[in-house]
Assembly symmetry: C2
Homo-oligomer: 258 residues x 2
């Protein structure tokens, strides 16, 4: 009965804590570059809590990432959505996005510096329990959180949603301390089987704690509700894979933050 | 507050329902063959409920499968542990187990008949909601539940834990109506990358609803607590992958049976 009552209290707190989701822009710097991320949290939760860094797709931090950050804040996390590109740099066209993302994919040292700058903002926040931080990313952001792990940072875990899995320096996997989860569309033409196999071998050689989930019928961008539903375009929303991958992430977090 | 109170009631019911786990041997037949499975359920739960068929490893139905069946019964499922080999046929040595399993792996029609006979027992049980049945299997049993799916049965879903993934008739995947989950040790020497790739292609060509999870650092038998912990033997228990795969199964069931 006592156990029941404790459960009851926990549930009540859960209800109370489902308060207002607050989000505010945060300027920060990496070197001389001015960046503008988004801090998101549930104002009803008191004190430090597990925290999640969210890294954006190739068009930069926008409405999609804000929505994901809010979803995470509603789960009780203190969230910071990173800005890798810089304040005001939000490419609109596919061509510009590819160019901007390419700048960082081809300069992994810069990419690491940018994502680590965002991590520092989150780790230093008064609401963050610095021992319980994870990072997730979508598409370009998936690649970015893997790079964060390869840089040897001590976040508890990273999750890539339909991110590119290749690395120019596979030996860096030996630096990885974070647990790694790759959530992958099995029909993603941007991340072909050869790249998946190389990633698995990289993780294996680095003795990483890793998992990869392949979702049948899913192509690139399978979590992005703005991506349409035409698989033949190589990028499309897939409700089933979106739901399953979100649940897989939640399960992973419950393991990390237990 | 009303919602809170409902939750409280649900939790109390949860506690009450966690009653005695009953298990009893059940004789049944496939053709002339006499088989002996194990029915397991929570006696405190009333009426029909979602049901799970459990298929054994290559040494036949034994203590391991009984324990898994009990774990599932504790989650509220009506469980039947199948006997593919026949009453009293429980090979003790690795050689005998390989020989017995080989008999069925090389005669998929017989394997299908045997597993379907077990499914009929479960589906016809007074505690089973016949519209909410899943099947899981370990090792040889993983192969078996995939074969059950390929036979076109309408179970809601199947889960293979470290099962062999190859099929002598990949075109049969077009018959599959069940959702398919393969939980795979990424370092399993019995199920090499080529076999995984062929399975993925089989599922793709059959337009199956499928997922595959690869667990880094896990070899064959990763859920079997009797398998020791020496990865170099090719089969070993892996607590991390065991826990994660069990949670993945639970998540899948919550999707199937919602």
């Amino acid at each position: 009965m006592r156990t029941c009552f404790s459960f009851f209290i926990v549930i009540m707190l859960g209800f109370i804590a489902n308060g207002e989701i607050v989000s505010r822009n945060v300027e920060y710097k990496q070197g001389e570059a001015v960046l503008e991320g988004l801090a998101v949290y549930d104002s009803a939760i008191q004190g430090r809590r597990p925290a999640v860094l969210v890294v954006h797709q190739w068009k930069g931090l926008g409405g999609y990432e804000k929505k994901r950050a809010e979803m995470l804040a509603r789960l009780g996390y203190n969230v910071f959505a990173a800005d890798i590109y810089g304040k005001g740099i939000r490419p609109q066209s596919v061509q510009d996005a590819a160019k901007e993302a390419g700048k960082y994919k081809n300069d992994r040292a810069l990419l690491r510096a940018r994502v680590r700058a965002a991590l520092e903002v989150l780790a230093g926040d008064e609401r963050t329990d610095p021992k319980r931080i994870a990072a997730i990313g979508y598409c370009f952001g998936g690649t970015t959180v893997l790079e964060l792990a390869r840089s040897g940072t001590d976040v508890a875990g990273v999750v890539s949603f339909h991110g590119g899995l290749s690395s120019p320096a596979p030996a860096d996997a030996k630096n990885i301390k974070a647990k790694v989860v790759a959530l992958h569309g099995a029909d993603d033409p941007n991340v072909p089987p050869k790249e998946v196999a190389a990633f698995e071998e990289e993780m294996r050689q680095g003795s990483v704690d890793w998992q990869l989930v392949a979702y049948g019928g899913a192509v690139h961008s399978f979590t992005d509700w703005n991506a349409g539903n035409d698989n033949s375009k190589g990028a499309a929303y897939n409700e089933r894979a979106d739901h399953r991958s979100w649940e897989a992430m939640k399960q992973f977090f419950s393991e990390l933050f237990k």
